[in-house]
């Protein structure tokens, strides 16, 4: 009984707790665990969105800047084998979406994918998560992952 109770408490705690850092893991030279304080030291960027007539200004760091810090190939280095890599963005509730490295690199395409930590100048909270992605150029909002906890880089290249 006590075990069940403990398990329930742990599960409840897991979902109720906001993670205070984002992990950059997988096939990277330098795995990172980034808090909001760490992200504050990166080059900052903003994205303005309108949803149901309500405007929100998200601030954070372009995802490609974070990946650069983790040693993920960018620009001229993003060729050959590196081009079969992808990035899995994972949320606290198990939600996952995928981006290819190519679509994250400004040398390839003028995309905007922000790893945001504030909305309208305030730290995000609750169902937004402490961190989220904002992908304003996507038509639906499905890849603008809320409650973001982990960015995993995976090399896909398969044997012929």
């Amino acid at each position: 009984m006590r075990t069940i109770l403990l398990a329930m408490l742990l599960i409840t705690g897991l979902f109720a707790q906001e993670t205070d850092a984002v992990q950059i893991t997988g096939d990277v030279k330098q795995p990172l665990t980034l808090s909001a304080a760490d992200l504050a030291k990166y080059p900052r960027a903003t994205v303005r969105t309108t949803s149901n007539g309500m405007e929100t200004v998200y601030e954070g760091v372009w995802l490609h800047e974070v990946l650069k810090k983790a040693g993920v190939p960018q620009g001229g280095e993003l060729r050959g084998k590196a081009l079969s890599s992808y990035v899995l963005a994972m949320a606290q509730d198990g939600y996952q979406v995928l981006f290819s490295l190519g679509e994250l690199d400004p040398a390839f395409i003028d995309n905007q994918i922000l790893l945001a930590d504030t909305a309208n100048g305030k730290p995000m909270f609750g169902a937004q998560g402490r961190f989220r992605l904002v992908v304003p150029k996507d038509k639906p909002g499905a890849r603008s992952v809320r409650m973001l906890t982990k960015i995993e880089v995976v090399q896909l290249r398969k044997a012929q």
């Binding site: 329930m8 409840t12 979902f15 109720a16 309108t50 949803s51 149901n52 007539g53 309500m54 405007e55 949320a91 509730d93 198990g94 939600y95 309208n120 305030k122 909270f125 609750g126 169902a127 996507d138 038509k139 639906p140 909002g141 499905a142 809320r146 409650m147």
Partner: protein, 359 residues
């Protein structure tokens, strides 16, 4: 010159209405031919609650849209002034100004002015039963000193302002003002008050907005928990592309006349598709669903957790079995209760002006 004076008068009248919305919320759309004015809204309040609008003097608009129940009636199916039952449940009027289409399942009805004619004149079933009695009712308005003063103020320079068209315009203007954006959840999410929600409601929010766990937000989207239109239009890319504004959620067998938008489109793929209404004040609007077939929020959550009750080829792919513990369900309900705007239920701007007065 005369026109110029009239224009100035109309502009002044329109300019005296303020929406007073909390910061960040968009203004609703107002038709160009029915501008808002404080006097029109006040006249609309008198008309909305006037029982002389019904054939037997027993009901007003406010009978099926009661302020204390977030402008619903507490019944599974609405009952008209002569006791005839409507096939569907009265919808809340809260934030109706933002609704792109009106009623449960009419994709063609987009104007509140036009909608107001329905309950007034419908005969199958009779709602207020005004059909054939319009002139009698307008005559009563013309003789009432309250209305003599208000109609003159709202529609100046008109030989006969007592027309059915002006009645429905005025009712629509009043209905547009019934706006709820001040619930505990609003204060928590947009008002900088982290303690406005209980820990249970905060956990419920995570389930509501998680497509893995609840996914409720996929149909009850955005700040109004329903699709909206607002001043300035739509957002362009629209989640409706994925879910559709009207959905079959496996609520019933969908027998006539409750076949959803199929009643209007005649397309078999539209059978069972009904609006996803706003969830604001949902705590007060039981029983639930288009047919009032679910008595409690617990029943509604059990319905969705089971992935729907009556499997149908048109059932939305968003509806699928969910893993929700008893605690999760309680948390979701706490979250839904945080959408109740208690001030709205007592706000004198929307209360019955005839209360306690003979008329």
């Amino acid at each position: 010159m005369k026109e110029a004076i009239l224009f100035v008068a109309v502009t002044a009248l329109a300019a005296d209405f303020e929406w007073n919305l909390p910061k960040g919320f968009p203004k609703p759309v107002v038709p160009a031919d029915n501008p808002m004015s404080a006097a029109k809204v006040e006249l609309g309040r008198y008309l909305f609650y006037d029982k002389r609008i019904s054939v037997n003097g027993k009901q007003s608009c406010g009978s099926c849209h009661r302020q204390e129940l977030a402008f619903t009636d507490g019944l599974a199916r609405a009952a008209g002034t002569t006791g005839e039952l409507h096939p569907r449940s009265s919808m809340s009027l809260v934030n109706v100004a933002y609704a792109p289409t009106l009623t449960w399942a009419n994709p063609t009805l987009t104007s509140l002015e036009e909608q107001a004619l329905g309950p007034l004149l419908n005969t199958a079933p009779v709602e207020l039963g005004l059909k054939g009695r319009e002139e009698v009712f307008l005559g009563e308005l013309r003789r009432d000193p309250v209305y003599q003063q208000l109609f003159k103020k709202v529609y100046p320079g008109t030989a006969n302002p007592f027309t059915l068209g002006n009645v429905t315009k005025t009712l629509a203007a009043f209905e547009r003002t019934i706006i709820s954006m001040r619930s505990p959840y609003d204060r928590y999410r947009w008002g900088g008050e982290p303690d406005a929600l209980s820990p249970a409601a905060k956990r419920g929010e995570l389930i509501f907005f998680s497509s893995e766990r609840g996914g409720c937000f996929q149909c009850h989207e955005g700040w109004n928990f329903s699709e909206i239109r607002y001043e300035g239009g739509h957002d362009g890319p629209d989640d409706r592309a994925m879910t559709g504004a009207f959905l079959n959620t496996g609520v019933s067998h969908y027998a006539a006349p409750n076949r959803g938008i199929y009643e209007f489109t005649g397309q078999p793929q539209d059978i069972g598709k009904f609006r996803a209404p706003t969830l604001r004040n949902i705590e007060l609007t039981a029983p639930y669903m288009h047919d009032g077939s679910m008595a409690t929020l617990e029943d509604v959550i059990a319905h969705y957790a089971a992935g729907g009750k009556y499997p149908h080829a048109n059932q939305s792919k968003v509806i699928r079995p969910l893993q929700l513990s008893q605690q999760d369900r309680r948390d979701l309900i706490e979250f839904l209760k945080s959408l109740t705007d208690r001030d709205m239920l007592r706000d004198p701007r929307w209360s019955d002006p005839w209360a306690g007065k003979p008329h």
